[in-house]
């Protein structure tokens, strides 16, 4: 997903959002929503068919694939495709992706949180106002547009073909949205709490740690997950800035693999499943957090 201009009312206005309990069991009392339902189920099929196809194909042998019905499950499922893909060093690419994602997301969320805190707490000053505006404008800068100068800068910094080359720009591009969203959540922390801590002699840094951080933890996690997903799936930065096979993160490795073995459809299917699996598992585990964070933020 690309960067976005500030959505209207990103803040959760706790007063206006009606409690969930107000909408209850609509389907019991009202006539069925045929159009919506049809659309919903149809789209479900459309979503599922490619996923289903990719999974079952990954278990077919190459010879089998050409002769059998593509939508039929494999008669004699095999793990040879997965073995083949793993032999091609996929574990290493996975590690690269993990390094890049952690190395980018944690610092990004951390510095964005600090910046958001400063902007919320003292945003009237000219310096902070200007910085805030610059971050907001940054939401409109697409990565694709500035990739050429980034390439130049990375070369000058002698970071070409290292994972750091992907990490640093990723942090920069994660900052605008993170600052915006985190700022909105920090703004919701009642002023009185800050006041009372100040009267107890706390410094701003202490207040950030002991007040803002715990209260905005859900937002931090949500932002972290969102940015994590973006960085994990980034393709353009590795495409331009990485050349050695050992340094490839997963999306780039997947593309190179497809370039070489494209005809071997089951192997390609296995590689796609393997690259998607970590994220899907993480998602299944951490689902609630992400959903509530996202829908709350965009509700109104």
């Amino acid at each position: 997903m690309a960067t976005v201009v500030a959505p209207e009312g990103g803040r959760v206005d706790s007063a206006a959002a009606p409690p969930r309990s107000r909408r209850r069991r609509t389907d019991e009392r009202e006539p069925r929503n045929w159009v919506g339902g049809a659309a919903g189920w149809l789209w479900l099929v459309i979503v599922v068919v490619p996923l289903y196809w990719i999974v079952i194909t990954s278990f077919k042998t190459r010879a089998n694939y050409f002769t059998t019905n593509p939508l039929a499950p494999p008669s004699s499922p095999t793990m040879e495709n997965y073995r083949f893909v793993l032999d091609q060093d996929f574990a290493r690419y996975f590690v690269n992706s993990v390094i890049v994602t952690f190395g980018a997301v944690v610092p990004a969320v951390a510095v964005s949180f600090m910046a958001a805190y400063a902007i919320v707490r003292a945003g009237e000053g000219r310096f902070l106002r200007a910085t805030n505006s610059m971050f907001l404008l940054g939401l409109a800068i697409p990565l694709q547009a500035v990739i050429i100068p980034i390439y130049l800068i990375i070369i000058r910094l002698q970071l070409y073909d290292t994972l750091l080359a992907i990490i640093l720009p990723s942090i920069a591009f994660a900052i605008p949205l993170s600052v915006l969203v985190l700022g909105n959540f920090i703004r919701d922390v009642p002023r009185e709490l800050f006041e009372s801590m100040r009267m107890d002699g706390a410094t701003e840094w202490t207040m950030l740690w002991r007040l803002a951080l715990p209260l905005t933890r859900p937002a931090l996690v949500t932002v972290g997950i969102y940015q994590g997903l973006t960085v994990w799936n980034n393709f353009l930065l590795p495409l331009i800035l990485i050349q050695s096979p050992e340094q490839r993160p997963l999306p780039l490795a997947l593309w190179a693999f497809q370039g070489q073995y494209g005809i071997n459809v089951p192997a390609i299917a296995a590689s796609v499943v393997l690259t998607a699996l970590p994220i899907v598992i993480l998602y299944a585990v951490g689902r609630r957090q992400l959903l509530s964070g996202l829908t709350a933020g965009f509700g109104k």
Binding site: T3, P50, A140, I147, L291
Partner: protein
């Protein structure tokens, strides 16, 4: 008599220093983010502008060359073509995704039981990288070795990625495949916030389901539509990964959007100057579109809950 006066809290002095609702020195906290952002965000942005006034083949020395690169870009028929392709992709993806997402969002909002299950499944396309999705569809749509060929259904056996019109349609479809779930969930969240009382009042007045949808649901979703549309449109302007892996701008230049035109001009034809000019155009168009949408959507300050 001596009175032991507790020392005045250190806070006092700083409190008086700042006029509005006291806070301590906090400006430094913004510095790390600022530094990284300036280095890898702001500087490259200026850099692209600067590079557009040079001639560079990516290998040798960068020669400043005034307006040469700009002339080359503006005179090249490839540019308006790329803009047209980009516009088509933007418009078509919006036209396809928005109604679908609203419909599905409304549906999801009402059906608690299936909601959880559907929500899980709906999110998976969003989790996949654009490269993975493009590769999946490439294999799926191969006219000789894909789904269509395997099932033997001629309708599915079209030259999906080799025919100019079809290829564009496929790009729009795959984009929608990835993002409709996301937008559906946004709309679902928004619909669930519309107070039931509004629907009840309308029902009492004799409004049917369809009427309720158009008179209550849609207007209440106005700001959500603006938000979701902004995301869609600005996002589709810069699609690169998906199109690059799926068609590489082809066949010919049928799917060569602005972002791809920039990549090809710079990294394949060795013309970094013109590529930078295209990049500047990309940023400007993006800004314009975002501003336009904001203008269209109003300020978003009024409450929509009147009459609830």
């Amino acid at each position: 008599m001596t009175v032991i006066v507790p020392p005045a809290p250190a806070v006092q002095t700083t409190r008086s220093a700042s006029a509005a609702g006291g806070h301590g020195p906090v400006g430094w906290m913004v510095l790390p983010a600022l530094v990284v952002f300036v280095a890898f965000g702001a500087v490259p942005l200026l850099g692209v502008l600067g590079l557009s006034f040079t001639t560079w083949d990516g290998l040798g020395v960068i020669h400043p060359s005034g307006l040469t690169s700009w002339h080359a870009v503006l005179a090249d028929p490839g540019l308006p073509h790329a803009m047209w392709v980009t516009f088509k992709i933007m418009a078509l993806s919006w036209l396809f995704q928005t109604p679908m997402s609203i419909l599905i969002g409304v549906f999801l909002a009402g059906h608690q039981r299936y909601r959880e299950f559907l929500a899980i499944l709906y999110f998976i396309p969003l989790l996949l990288s654009a490269a993975a999705i493009a590769i999946t569809y490439k294999a799926l749509l191969d006219p000789n070795f894909g789904l269509g060929a395997g099932l033997g259904i001629p309708l599915l056996q079209q030259d999906w990625l080799g025919n100019s019109t079809l290829a564009l349609g496929v790009v729009v479809f795959v984009v929608s495949w990835q993002f409709i779930p996301f937008h559906s969930l946004i709309y679902q969240g928004a619909v669930r916030q519309i107070p039931r009382s509004m629907y009840e009042a309308a029902a009492l007045d004799g409004a049917g389901r369809v009427r309720q949808f158009f008179s209550i649901t849609l207007p209440q979703l106005k700001y959500t539509i603006i938000t979701s549309s902004t995301l869609m449109v600005v996002g589709s302007l810069t699609f690169f990964d998906l199109i690059f892996v799926l068609t590489e701008g082809g066949p010919g230049d049928a799917t060569r959007s602005l972002a791809l035109e920039m990549y090809k001009t710079g990294f394949q034809a060795n013309l970094m100057g013109p590529a930078s000019a295209i990049a500047v155009i990309l940023v400007v168009v993006g800004l314009l579109v975002a501003l336009l949408l904001r203008r269209l959507g109003g300020r978003g300050d009024e409450s929509q809950l009147e009459g609830a």
